[in-house]
Structures are given as structure tokens and as C-alpha cells.
């Protein structure tokens, strides 16, 4: 929580690093509040990908912030008044951790009591994410896909192998770094696959797996250079992969409609409804994983490719 002092610094590099530390602390807090899936996502996204993206855009802009010339008093007053109003509202809020809170009275008991029998998946977060609220998740996946498109429109990815840097000029030929990363990357990718396919039973799922997988490749590119990384995963594959991921998700929904059930009703996928649920969740998590992975990696390519042009 003390990482909030980030706002006082003018060295943006320090600000971004502090923000990464802050994200990691937030993830620990989520862990303490019994939200393992969320902690997982926050650690992978906030402390990993966001920091890398912010650093690459810092590289493209400026490191030092100009000293602010305006008077902060007005902003402080606005913030103070809003904060006071919120605190006043919070005084009426239900007490933390009380089982009789309104949150635990309406749909949550149904998810918790019926979830294991209706969906047959031990991880209730996955059950709610993929089955009960599959529409929402489909919407989120489309939003991520659209955001990836927007970044591509703004920055673009060059796909010309002759102009790529080999990476030696960035970090130099650092033997220790390369050896360590060589060992780490297969582990990261393996872990990503585990998280992807074990999401039904433990913490994890398509969103986390996609981010972890992308992190592996980002690390690879950072150390071994663009030339090698883009030979392994060319950007033009990623364009298609992102679309394929969203299409898998939507396709499952359309298939269940064709089979005479509602959109995204997985019981249409197999004879036994529970088997259908399993299969459906596996498929759409796969779609989410592919979409998230390719969009995150594409965004990173867009930022790192930009620095090459300048």
C-alpha cells in the first residue's frame, strides 16, 4: 500500500517499477482474501505484462517528467470532497467478512451449492466464468480482441524480416542471462499449458494461461532479440490466432444453438450434460487462452517494433 508514494516521483522509470511492486502486493492481498484466481491474474498481468508495456512506451517517449507548474490546490479540494463523500457512504457498507452480507444472499449460494452438480467442475470461479456467465466472458474476449486491433491500427506491426534487430545490440551477449532464460522459458510455457488445462480443477484458466504463455515469448524476445523471436512466432500468425481464438468461443455457442439449445449451452455438446459442460468449458477456455495470448504478444510486438523505427 505504501507504493502509492509512486505519485510523488518525477522519474517515470521509478514510477513504473513501483507500480509493478504495487501490483504484486495487491496480488498478495487478493490471496489473503481467498481470491486465488484473481491473485494469479493480477500477478501475471499487473506485475508482468503491464510493467513491460509501460517500460516500452517509456522507451518510446521520455523518462523524466516535467515539473508541474499548475496549482494542485483545486484538484486536492475536489479529491478531498469526493473522498469524504465516499467514506461517508462506506460507513453504511456491510461489515467485511460477514456471511450475512447481501453479496452472499442472492446468486452466490446457488453457484456454490448447485455449481458442482450442474457444471461438474470443482473450481467454482471457472464454472461461473465459463458456464453461468459465458455471455459476459465472450464479451470480454471480444473486448480484448478489439483492443488488440486498436493498438495495431495505432502502431502497426512491421513484418519485414530484413529490418529486425538481432538483439545483441540491446543487452549485449550476456551468457548468464541467456543460459538462465533458456532454462526458464520451457518451464514457463509448460506452466502456461498446465494452467490452461487444469483450470477446471485448480486456480487458473484461459485468461491466466494466455498471459503466462505470452510472458514466456516476451522474455524470449527481450533476451534473444526480435529476429529470433519473430522467426518462432511470426506476427502474421498472431493476427489469425487472435481471430481463431474468438471464433472458437463463438463457434461453440453457435454449435449449441444449431443443436437446438441456447447460445453457449454446453449440454448440447455431448450425450451427458456434465460431459458436455466439461467439453464446452475446455473448448472456450482454449479459445480465450489463444485469443489472450496472441493479443498480448501482438501488442508487445507493436510496441517493440515501434522502437526500432526511431
Amino acid at each position: 500500500m505504501i507504493a502509492v508514494s509512486a505519485i510523488r516521483l518525477t522519474d517515470l522509470f521509478a514510477v513504473v517499477m513501483l507500480f509493478g511492486v504495487y501490483s504484486l502486493l495487491t496480488a498478495a492481498l487478493f490471496m489473503d482474501l481467498d481470491a486465488v484466481d484473481v491473485a494469479f491474474t493480477e500477478a501475471a498481468v499487473g506485475a508482468g505484462v503491464t510493467t513491460v508495456l509501460m517500460l516500452s512506451s517509456l522507451h518510446l517517449t521520455k523518462r523524466w517528467e516535467a515539473t508541474p507548474r499548475r496549482n494542485p490546490a483545486v484538484s486536492l479540494i475536489v479529491v478531498g470532497v469526493t473522498g469524504a463523500a465516499l467514506v461517508y457512504a462506506m460507513l453504511d457498507a456491510p461489515l467485511l467478512g460477514d456471511p450475512s452480507d447481501p453479496v452472499h444472499q442472492h446468486v452466490s449460494p446457488r453457484y456454490i451449492e448447485q455449481g458442482p452438480t450442474e457444471v461438474g467442475v470443482p473450481n467454482l470461479v471457472t464454472a461461473v466464468l465459463a458456464s453461468y456467465r459465458g455471455y459476459d466472458t465472450f464479451g470480454e474476449t471480444v473486448v480484448i480482441f478489439t483492443a488488440g486491433l486498436a493498438v495495431l491500427l495505432l502502431l502497426g506491426v512491421r513484418d519485414d524480416p530484413r529490418k529486425l534487430r538481432s538483439g545483441m545490440d540491446l543487452v549485449g551477449d550476456q551468457v548468464i542471462l541467456r543460459s538462465v532464460v533458456k532454462v526458464l522459458i520451457p518451464l514457463i510455457l509448460l506452466y502456461g499449458l498446465y494452467v490452461q488445462f487444469h483450470g477446471d480443477f485448480g486456480a487458473g484458466g484461459g485468461f491466466q494461461a494466455g498471459v503466462i504463455f505470452a510472458t514466456g515469448f516476451i522474455l524470449y524476445e527481450l533476451v534473444f532479440g526480435e529476429k529470433v523471436a519473430r522467426a518462432v512466432v511470426p506476427p502474421r500468425w498472431l493476427h489469425r490466432l487472435a481471430a481463431i481464438g474468438v471464433l472458437i468461443y463463438g463457434g461453440v455457442g453457435v454449435y449449441s444453438m444449431l443443436a437446438g439449445k441456447a447460445f453457449l449451452d454446453y449440454s448440447a455438446l455431448a450425450e451427458d450434460p456434465i460431459d458436455g459442460q466439461h467439453l464446452g468449458i475446455l473448448l472456450i477456455e482454449l479459445g480465450v487462452g489463444i485469443a489472450v495470448f496472441s493479443v498480448v504478444l501482438l501488442i508487445f510486438y507493436a510496441f517493440s517494433g515501434r522502437s526500432r523505427q526511431q
Partner: protein, 174 residues
């Protein structure tokens, strides 16, 4: 370090974080720092949701063999899980915009960008004035030439002047 006795301690932290982020967004001029502030604001909302879903003495919502009395509510977890990933996607759109702004303006400070905008607008206005004046001279070459004398002076004056000239031009057309 932090006592988890039932209470509103978490909510106070949330308000504090939220207001810090809000302050950064409205008071700081640097666009990247504004995005960091937005991120602070965002995580404060995450913490709020997760705190609401928490039950003291409960378990993470994963059904195991040993049955627990309480599980924390899975619904807020799902909402926030997707929100985090969507958050990084939207943040990267913001960063991409900042990068493009930096390429166009050479700065990511709000003040400098506004200054550049004003300068550009003024330059544009001057250029338009030149064109209008030239048109005027061409249209009214036979008539008496008027109103070209205070060109390039104070902008507000120049603005009025351009309006006058446009109307006079329209009259000339009729």
C-alpha cells in the same frame, strides 16, 4: 500487520487508493503518469469487489474433499479476473495513443501539447487569413481595396477581421 477483524478497514484503503489515482489523473500533466493513476484507480475497484466477496474464515471457492462452512463468493472473482485482463488491453490502447501523441507532438506533457495546439491553431488562422485576403484582393481588384492593413496582429482582432472580410466577400459575390 493488518487485522482482518470485521470492519470497514478495507473500504477505507479502497477510498484512499481511489482518491490517489483520481488525484493523479486530474492533477498531473504527464500522460503516462495519468495512465498509472488510472491503473491505481482500477486496482482500488478490484480490491473493493474482492473485499465484498470475502467471508471471514471462509475458503477459496474451489470444492475439495473437505467441505468448508463458507466459500467466498465466486461471482466478484470472475468479474475482476476478466476486468484485469481487459484492463491491461485497454491500458495498452492508452499507451499506444500516448506513443503516437509523442511522435506527433514530441512531448507527453499535457501543457506542452496544449501549447502546441494553440500555436498550430494560430498558424492555421494566419494562413487562412492570408488566403481570404488574397481572394478578396482578386475579387475586388477593381473596387477599392480595404482592410488588409492589420494583418498578423493580435489574434482576437484578426479573428474579427476575418469575419468582416468573409462577409464583405460574400457581399462582393452577390
Amino acid at each position: 500487520m493488518i487485522s482482518w477483524s470485521p470492519g470497514i478497514f478495507n473500504y477505507l484503503i479502497v477510498v484512499f487508493l481511489m482518491m490517489s489515482g483520481f488525484y493523479v489523473v486530474i492533477a498531473q500533466g504527464n500522460l503516462i503518469k495519468k495512465l498509472v493513476g488510472l491503473g491505481l484507480f482500477q486496482t482500488s475497484v478490484f480490491i473493493l469487489y474482492i473485499s465484498i466477496g470475502y467471508i471471514a474464515g471462509g475458503q477459496a471457492p474451489i470444492i475439495t474433499d473437505e467441505v468448508a462452512d463458507y466459500y467466498s463468493s465466486p461471482l466478484p472473482h470472475v468479474l475482476i479476473l476478466t476486468a484485469i485482463v481487459v484492463g491491461v488491453a485497454t491500458t495498452s490502447v492508452g499507451l499506444a495513443l500516448v506513443v503516437r501523441i509523442h511522435e506527433a507532438y514530441g512531448s507527453v506533457e499535457e501543457d506542452e501539447i496544449h501549447a502546441r495546439d494553440w500555436a498550430d491553431d494560430n498558424a492555421l488562422m494566419e494562413a487562412e487569413l492570408e488566403v481570404i485576403a488574397a481572394d478578396n484582393r482578386a475579387a475586388e481588384s477593381g473596387n477599392e481595396s480595404k482592410g488588409n492593413d492589420n494583418k498578423g496582429k493580435d489574434n482576437r482582432q484578426a479573428d474579427n477581421h476575418s469575419e468582416n472580410e468573409t462577409t464583405s466577400k460574400e457581399e462582393g459575390m452577390q
